[in-house]
């Protein structure tokens, strides 16, 4: 073994050819923050509210794309994890009236839930994992009606939020809060997935045996990936609670979990830009559907149109760009 080290004293380090140059996460995040700040001062209140919703969705899709895209674990239960975060936020906020504390509590409780599900998930593969997380998505909302003295059943809980500081309008304040959460999450995830952890989770996705032989603790890596994405979902849940100023089981149905997965697939699996595009679609497409439904004058159409549009977009995007929207390159240098 010493021979090998002696030989590597004067290594011939080859020129780095073809390495992709990437914008450092910190720069992208600061640019994003500046853009959001400008937008919140120029957009009307309702658009600000929609912008805030995009931020909240981005918080959860970013974590989900790391789990599903980079580590290959399909979760159909992230809506339920969001519900966990949202309810934790509501209960702590109503008791202690401290938003930072409540957000923290939401993240911690959801992370703990993520540990439990993640431990089980690390033993399951493919459809069995999907089944487990699906069960979580179905069970968690119904907990609220079982323990209705705490969670107030289908009525949900209203949340006593502190008013925004100074004369900042509520919608702008909400947009700031949501995007602060989203950008911090994106920054942490980008930093985390750049180095060894990022390589390891992708290695586990591609070949577990080879990863194990290369020294990766497969189960630990999978649990960690699940926990990280659960923490993101918890924060997103708290942000949704801030947005709605209330929580109810109806806000976190099974379809939410499915929409989240669809969004990251359409946006481009495993990429934060894809998660952002997916979050944008999660807000834009239902809004589009609502407008279309109102124009047509049919009330039956309104509820289901969003689902149809999402399905059509999914099919079209997968046909045109199997890597998702983020994989599309607009180049003029085409030969």
């Amino acid at each position: 073994m010493t021979d090998l080290r002696e030989k590597s004293v004067a290594p011939v380090v080859p020129e780095k050819v073809g390495r992709k140059r990437r914008i450092p996460p910190a720069v992208a995040i600061l640019l994003g923050a500046a853009l959001i700040l400008i937008l919140t001062y120029t957009l009307p209140p309702f658009r600000n509210y929609q912008l805030a919703t995009v931020g909240a969705y981005f918080t959860v899709t970013a974590g989900l794309t790391v789990l599903t895209g980079l580590n290959g674990q399909l979760s159909l239960g992230h809506g339920a994890l969001m519900a966990t975060g949202a309810y934790t936020f509501a209960l702590t906020q109503n008791r202690w009236l401290s938003m930072p504390l409540s957000v923290l509590a939401a993240i911690v409780v959801t992370t703990l839930a993520g540990v439990v599900i993640g431990l089980a998930a690390a033993r399951l593969r493919g459809p069995y994992l999907a089944g487990l997380t699906l069960a979580v998505a179905v069970v968690v909302p119904s907990v609220t009606s079982t323990f209705d003295t705490t969670f107030n059943s289908d009525m949900g809980l209203s949340i006593a939020l502190d008013p925004p500081p100074g004369t900042i309008p509520m919608e702008r304040w909400q947009a700031w809060l949501c995007w602060a959460g989203a950008l911090v999450t994106a920054f942490l995830l980008a930093t985390l997935t750049r180095g060894r952890f990022g390589r390891d989770i992708r290695a586990v996705r591609d070949d577990e045996t080879a990863a194990r032989l290369a020294g990766v603790h497969v189960a630990r890596t999978q649990v960690l990936a699940f926990v990280v994405s659960a923490a993101c979902a918890g924060l997103a849940g708290a942000l949704f609670a801030v947005l709605a100023q209330s929580v109810s089981p109806g806000a976190f149905p099974l379809t939410l979990s499915l929409f989240l997965v669809m969004a990251i697939v359409i946006g481009g699996l495993g990429r934060l830009v894809g998660a952002l595009l997916g979050a944008l679609l999660l807000v834009l497409l239902p809004a589009l559907a609502q407008t279309a439904g109102e124009r047509s004058g049919s009330q039956h159409l309104e509820g289901n149109l969003a689902l149809v549009i999402f399905g059509v977009v999914l099919v079209v995007v997968m046909l045109a760009a199997p890597g998702g929207l983020a994989s599309i390159r607009f180049t003029l240098r085409r030969k």
Binding site: P11, V17, G18, A203, D206, D207
Partner: protein, 246 residues
Amino acid sequence: MSTENTAHELALDHMTVRFGGLTALDDVSLRVPSGRIVGVIGPNGAGKTTLFNVICGFVTPAAGEITLDGRAWRPRPHQLNRLGIARTLQGVGQFGGLTVLENVQVGARGHRSKGEKASRERQSEKDALEALDKCGVADYAHRLPGALPYATRKRVELARALASRPRILMLDEPAGGLDPEEIRWLAELIKGAGTTVLLVEHHMDLVMSVCDEILVLDFGKPIALGTPAEISADDKVTEAYLGAAA
């Protein structure tokens, strides 16, 4: 055996592995002295890969004991890298979504020897690039492995094993699918690796030219153990490969 008195880095004692009714390894003992190149050969289904899987902890033996550096040892796959044991898989077990450099970096965990100050990430990249260079595939560092020729991917696989700076290198059919030119290169690499090597291989010229000692398995049973010259002269080995003489 000429190695009775040397320190054995890795030793298997009376190893037996059963898969249901099939006995894949039947009372196999092997001593791997430090710095030696030990080959394991035998017809298909003889238990060569099973032997590797036992050492890597993928298969739990029904009986027998493994010792590492003289101490009883129960192998766990993900700990091998830290213990300085690297194994390549039959064929190419690569991470398709990672670049060649990243593939090798997964194996290069950035363990520093004393006096080195680089961060783990830098160290890992440095080790990986050195290993790629040693295997002659540094030019492909930022390509995805899926698009590369088979022989190149085999080299990447070797680089991943070498990047962990192993003291024991376990190669499972490294010559499979390589042309004579590549095999000559591989022989040089194995001889110059400066590590203990355990080699499972079908390519007899390679095994005979690089190995200090060879273990021959047939239907899970050890039938011969000796130097390449002794093995080539062994009647039982010829019989196992060519069938019993009528």
